[in-house]
């Protein structure tokens, strides 16, 4: 293996590609060659680096300097100052409170341990970082029951929003005697403000595959489908490549590691429907139907895809599994709270200094996440509220900043952790406006199967539009809550049960704003 003095990690993602990173790299390579540094400095094309700088972002190791918004014109300066003389170019450095803290946004990495470090398009990089050790262990040294016991012991809860214990879900399907079982990966990430799964798949696709493999072995499935949104083009191509590589290495396919176990993983592409994130709607879509949810029970674990027992798990959930198997549940239990173990990937957006993602222990407070990982509020803005959990989430005011971010703590406040999206609003932004946008979203995404949701979302949108225009009364505000409560009690699936979250939290926490606008 060749050794380099320094490594430049270049984030290859949707935004940097849009900013012209391909051309940039070509120029950078030729400048480095001109300075005779090609043998000393390595350029690594990798996934998200963990901060959301604008445009093209670089991280330089070993000094761990983060650059953002780098342009072709900056290359000469970077090469002559930083790469030749070792003086980082201050004006291009990521402006963050944590800029000198090497691991500022990865307090405890599990899911993102390789992201931004390895080349996601090279299986050897993943294996070199300890990848597929868990799969080998699960297949050759563990029985399916052992795997489930370990996952149960870890306390891993589903990261898609509902927080159902993963080990328990698997244990319902494992003992069933069926000619065919399936693992279905829910990569239909549609919750507004959420893109953690995209970053996991872009940054470390093999880790997801390894999680799927272990799950398949545990429940006895020989076919797995990854149902991924049609919009996630880069994820799709990286996963296709990862599957191809795993097959070439014999990690996937027939008689894997001479164990007699067969597994095939296939990718299925969605076509733009929020409701398909609901597991039974997702299964309908996989079968080639409209994404209308199914009646539960029977749950997919018993009768899922083509009526066969099917485990549906979120991307982040499965990406946690290799760690649990290779390092052991006890190692996993060191993170998080007793009820909610492990870490959680959050995406922080809105008026914070550094919108981006972070992986932190479950139970970290909202205040810590905003102040330490997102660099606090953007200069000149004051915190007003945070929409936590996307459109199906809640609006939390500043007095709730010290709430712990985990499933159990948030439940005490009738709030939800959801998918881990945190959208921060400043004091100039209107809660009514925000609620309008949320309800417009639900109106558009209701699948139309059941009346409470189909009609309810229409009525909610009509009422909030009236209120937003200043033509509403407090009776309309109360009526919204009544309708949303009825929807919660009578809707077929989680979509119709969700609007109450945002509505109730908005009205309870910011009643003044509704009074002000209805008195206009």
């Amino acid at each position: 293996m060749k050794y380099y003095r320094s490594h430049i990690l270049v984030s290859m993602n949707e935004t940097s590609i849009a900013a012209g990173v391909q051309n940039f790299l070509q120029n950078l390579r030729s400048e480095l060659a001109k300075a005779e540094l090609s043998t000393e400095i390595n350029i690594l094309e990798t996934g998200p680096l963990g901060f959301f700088g604008r445009g093209i972002c670089l991280t330089v190791y070993p000094e761990n300097v983060n650059y953002e918004s780098v342009k072709a014109e900056d290359i000469a300066e970077l090469v002559s100052e930083h790469f030749l003389k070792g003086r980082p170019v201050k004006r291009l450095m990521l402006d963050s409170v944590n800029k000198f803290n090497p691991n500022f946004n990865y307090a405890n990495r599990i899911v993102l341990r390789n992201s931004g470090i390895i080349d996601p398009e090279k299986i050897d990089d993943y294996i070199g970082a300890g990848g597929y050790v868990a799969w080998e262990k699960a297949l050759t040294q563990m029985q399916p029951a052992d795997i489930i016991t370990e996952v149960k012991k870890s306390g891993l809860r589903g990261r898609g929003g509902a927080g159902f214990p993963a080990g328990m879900k698997w244990s319902f399907t494992a003992p069933l005697d069926a000619p065919q079982k399936y693992v279905v990966v829910n990569a239909d990430e549609g919750e507004p403000g959420t893109f953690k799964d995209r970053l996991i798949m872009e940054g470390d696709p093999h880790q997801l595959l390894e999680g799927i493999m272990i799950c398949a072995r545990a429940i006895g499935a020989t076919i797995a489908y990854i149902y991924i949104r049609g919009e996630y083009k880069l994820c799709i191509s990286r996963l296709e490549l990862a599957i191809k590589q795993a097959k070439e290495y014999g990690i996937l396919g027939t008689n894997i590691f001479d164990s007699g176990f067969d597994l095939d993983i296939m990718i299925k592409i969605g076509a733009g429907a929020y409701v398909c994130g609901e597991e039974t709607a997702l299964i309908e879509s996989l079968e080639g139907n409209r994404g209308n949810p199914r009646w539960k029970p029977p749950f997919p674990g018993v009768k899922g895809l083509w009526q066969a027992p099917t485990v549906v798990n979120n991307v982040e959930t499965l990406a946690n599994v290799p760690f649990i198997i290779s390092e052991g549940a006890d190692e996993f239990l060191k993170h998080g709270t007793p009820e909610c173990t492990g870490t959680k990937v959050f995406t922080i957006l809105g008026d914070v200094a550094h919108p981006g993602l972070c992986e932190v222990d479950m139970g970290t407070t909202l205040r810590t996440i905003i102040n330490e990982y997102a660099g606090g509020m953007k200069k000149g803005f004051r915190f007003k509220a945070a929409l936590v959990g996307g459109a199906a989430g809640v609006i939390l005011p500043d007095r709730m900043l010290d709430v712990k971010m985990d499933f159990a703590s948030l439940n005490q406040y009738a709030a939800v952790l959801g998918s881990g999206a945190i959208l921060v609003m400043n004091e100039h932004q209107s809660i009514v406006d925000m609620l309008w946008s949320i309800l417009r979203f639900f109106r558009h995404e209701s699948c139309g199967k059941c009346s409470p949701c189909k009609n309810g979302t229409q009525q909610l949108y009509r009422l909030i539009t009236k209120i937003k225009k200043g033509e509403g009364t407090m009776d309309d505000v109360d009526l919204m809550q009544t309708i949303a409560e009825t929807m919660f009690n009578t809707s077929f699936c989680a979509l119709g049960q969700s609007p109450i979250m945002a509505i109730r939290s908005a009205i309870e926490n910011f009643r003044d704003e509704f009074i002000a606008i209805t008195n206009k």
């Binding site: 849009a18 959301f52 733009g272 949320i438």
Partner: protein
């Protein structure tokens, strides 16, 4: 043409969504014509009304002809609070069309969409396969001009 696309997949219903994607992506006007629906229905042995049901359910499909470049502007809450409404207004002015319409020269179709998962750079839009983030009114003009220039 449609039949050739179909034959890349097994004639089972679960391939419908992928076939529809391929048919739409290869059609010069980025839509699924009714003749194609008939071919797919026969190939998969499902009623045409099932296909129409699926086709109209998912937002990525279109049953009417569209422009060469499809602009999909995100209108979800994260982009909304970052000013996506202003971007929509500006796009309408630049292109001279309303939401859902195609420009006369057939270059652009303006659509709205739900969260694209690039919220770190809101407001965001997608033109065909490419994502454009951190949009401003000036940037919109630049982007559209550039695509117009390329023809």
């Amino acid at each position: 043409m449609t039949l050739e696309i179909c034959q890349k997949y097994a004639p089972t219903k679960d391939n419908l969504i992928q076939i529809l994607h391929d048919v739409q992506d290869t059609h010069p006007q980025h839509y699924i014509p009714s003749e194609a629906v008939d071919v797919i229905a026969e190939y998969l042995n499902v009623p045409a009304n099932h296909i129409y049901g699926v086709l109209t359910f998912y937002t990525m499909y279109s049953t009417t002809p569209r422009g060469k470049n499809i602009i999909r502007l995100c209108e979800s809450p994260p982009c909304y609070i970052k000013g996506s409404e202003n971007m929509l207004r500006k796009l309408k002015v630049i292109l001279g069309v309303q939401t859902g319409e195609t420009t006369k020269d057939g270059m652009f179709t303006l659509e709205l969409c739900a969260c694209l998962g690039v919220c770190g750079n809101a407001p965001v839009m997608m033109i065909n396969e490419d994502v454009y983030g951190d949009l401003t009114e000036e940037k919109l003009e630049e982007i559209i001009d550039k695509i117009r220039g390329m023809k």
